[in-house]
Amino acid sequence: MLFFTRWKAAAILITAFLICLCAVPNFFPESTVKNWPSWAQRHVVLGLDLQGGSHLLLEVDSGAVRKERLQGLADDVLRVLRQARIPFTGRAIKGNSVEVHITRDTDVDNALAKLRELSTPLSGILGASGQRTVDVVQSAGLITLTPTDAALTERIRQAVDQSIQIIERRVNELGLVEPTIQREGVDRILVQVPGLQDPTRLKDILGKTAKLDFRMVDLSMSAQQAIETHPPADSEVLDGEGGAKFLVEKHVLVSGADLTDAQPGFDQRTSEPIVSFRFNSSGARKFAEATQANVGKPFAIVLDNKVIEAPVIREPILGGAGQISGRFTVQQVNDLAILLRAGALPAPLTIIEERTVGPGLGQDSITAGEHAAYAGAALVIIFMFVTYGLFGLFANIAVAINVAMIFGVLSLLSATLTLPGIAGIVLTVGIAVDSNVLIYERIREEVRGGRTAINAIDAGFSRALATILDSNITTFIAAAVLFYIGTGPVRGFAVTLGIGILTSLFTAFTLTRLIVASWVRMWRPRTVPI
């Protein structure tokens, strides 16, 4: 156990040295590290609890996605049956399905064949997965179309992907530094913004779907009449500013998707804050056609199902540009311009978890963590020295290298350091010491058993190492589980605890042994000073 070949000793020292070296970038300011080659830039990232910032977990409204999918399917059914000239009645959305009743029994087979075409194979990760997008079931004249769960999940997945892109654009427009935006599970998005102290505006921006439509106001009856009786089939009543109600056609003339640009500004005459926008070519053409046909009539600008304003078309708008002015504040105009430029979310997002830490608390936590680490290390170092003397000193060297290696590995992984993570490192000092304690106690025992010094050291190591392995694996399993189930700070604890166990195993099996072996070779001791 105490014999090391030259190259083996060299390999151990070089490994330890290289891993420690990885921790170096953490000790230089960011501006210095930036000029280093990219492979040398990896460093520990401070968690939001230490550097301050906002953590928002958003959930895509899967109910809305489902509803939209059903509405789309119902529209498809209408289109297909009309094209095939098959008469039908009772097309309706019932629960999670679309139902349609085919009037003539002779048409049923034909209708079924046509409607089955709506169901396409769902492409899985490895090509066709055998699943289809829609289940089509027929009983007598009634045909039921149900989107499959797999297809809906796929839809939600797509909605999340789109949302992530749009959120990225919105967050970047706000000028926030180094935001992280990532998918969590199937229908969730995690947004983390370091240094953001008050996320109110961010939440406002993320919480808006920003679905902008230009539609005609339905003048066939007043909004009040429509509420009291029943609105026409192709129109709906929407809220406006200050409790006003509008009866608006469901048909969309031009949507926000056709915008190419939106900028905040001021109206030249009234100096009200406005958003001026520009359509792309197809949007401009559609808008021109619609305004030409409807001169003298009001149209509605609808944002997230709310009428912002309903101006009367005085003349055809052919230039493809326009402006929205609806009693906005300057801030609202800025936000609206950002939202319109970034595009509409495919489905509403809900904030289901928020964790914001101010910079003051973060700094306090760093200071607290540092103090605890120094105090813990000092106590342990003194205690080890008092208990094991020279060997205690060896243990302390091993522990110091161990902590440096933890930082090295954390840097290499660009891992996040949280306050519980610091606690994990402090605890690791306890674990790393334990390996040495196990070895030394075993050596003491062997000495008592009457062995010679070198013999006792050798036996102490070989017997203790098996125990060290066994006992550390159990703690490592706990750390692994914690990493798997934990989020944020807790995961940070699992990371440092896990890495700490690995590095302390490494030091116990190689470094401590090497140090003791070198000492034995140099001094040829007759007794063990332990």
């Binding site: 939440k203 904030i351 008092v386 306890g430 010491v433 190492l465 694996i473 703690t475 706990a478």
Partner: protein, 329 residues
């Protein structure tokens, strides 16, 4: 230099005698802990029951709790608590989960922000909606069960099944007592508590495994020694290590407890109780003696056909194959 010997070298303490006391005591304490859990309850944090937690620091002078209480009370947000947190100008505001799903939680925070205005710094704002809190609780529970299961399987592979079972009983005992402690002290029970419980599990097992390792070694070496004697020798042999290690861990934890700040205070307090107090006691007084009841070592006597190796001739033992070679039958 004379080195510190916390445990004298020739300690021969009869731990096994205590099993007639330690088992009933542990049983009683466990029952008490379970009673506490059901009748006193745990102080569940927002991670598990949802709601809002806001830590504010007043900008001018110490916080006026009464005024703050009436301000927030005026918002009609249901149950809420105000608590001094560390410094006199630090206040922790807890608001229970609002009816009306995830959106309602956000509205409540906004109301509080509007009401308290610029007089305070917002050091921390945490909002956990109902969907997340349910999940976190489920994940936490699953995690604990999973960890216990995984460790059991590992121990079962490395040792005999009795050892795995003994370790599990000891562990569940640790967790139950720690939960009882958390109920009694009304420490916040949140995600970090789950982390603390898992770490306690890991550490306590670590300790148990060290003793079990020694017991296994002794079982192979002394085939005729009676079980209680063998356990006693094993525990005494590892006692010094147990104590030194727990002193170092306790020192690390003490440093965290004193200097680590409020944010991890409940975490370290729980660990201190679980690792240092319960974990050590359990490995010595529960995990080891229970092996007798689980039938470890019965039938050894009959098998030992070969002459018993001379007691502790350590010089001879050196020529044995390394203990790492597993000698399972």
């Amino acid at each position: 230099m004379r080195l510190l010997r916390i445990v004298p070298d020739d300690t021969r303490f009869d731990f096994m005698r205590f099993r007639r006391i330690s088992f009933p005591i542990s049983a009683m304490l466990s029952i008490a802990a379970i009673f506490l859990y059901f009748f006193h309850g745990l102080n569940f944090g927002i991670d598990f029951i949802g709601g809002t937690l806001i830590e504010v620091q007043t900008k001018a002078g110490p916080a006026d709790l009464a005024k703050m209480r009436s301000t927030i009370g005026g918002l009609r947000l249901g149950d809420f608590q105000l608590q001094q947190f560390g410094a006199p100008n630090d206040v922790l505001i807890r608001i229970s989960e609002q009816p009306g799903g995830d959106v309602a939680q956000q509205q409540a925070v906004q109301k509080v922000r509007d009401a308290l205005g610029d007089e305070v710094d917002y050091r921390r704002v945490e909002v956990v909606g109902p969907s997340v809190s349910t999940e976190l609780l489920a994940y936490g529970t699953i995690g604990l069960v999973l960890a216990i299961g995984a460790i059991l399987i590992y121990l079962w592979f490395r040792f005999e099944w009795q050892f795995a079972l003994g370790a599990m009983i000891a562990n569940v005992h640790d967790l139950v007592l720690t939960v009882g402690f958390m109920s009694l002290t009304h420490i916040d029970f949140d995600l970090t508590s789950i982390a603390a419980l898992l770490t306690i599990l890991g550490y306590s097992l670590n300790d148990t495994v060290v003793i079990y390792d020694r017991i296994r070694e002794m079982l192979r070496r002394y085939k005729r020694m009676s079980m209680p004697d063998l356990l006693n020798v094993s525990i005494n042999a590892t006692l010094s290590r147990s104590i030194v290690t727990h002193v170092t861990v306790a020192m690390s934890l003490l440093a965290l407890l004193l200097f680590g700040g409020q944010a991890i205070h409940s975490f370290t307090a729980t660990m201190m109780f679980g690792v240092v107090l319960v974990g050590t006691y359990t490995s010595v007084f529960i995990a080891s003696p229970i092996l007798i009841y689980l039938g470890v070592g019965t039938g050894r006597m009959g098998e030992a056909e070969e002459p018993e190796p001379p007691p502790e001739p350590q010089t001879q033992a050196a020529s044995r194959p390394s203990q790492r070679v597993r000698a399972r039958r």
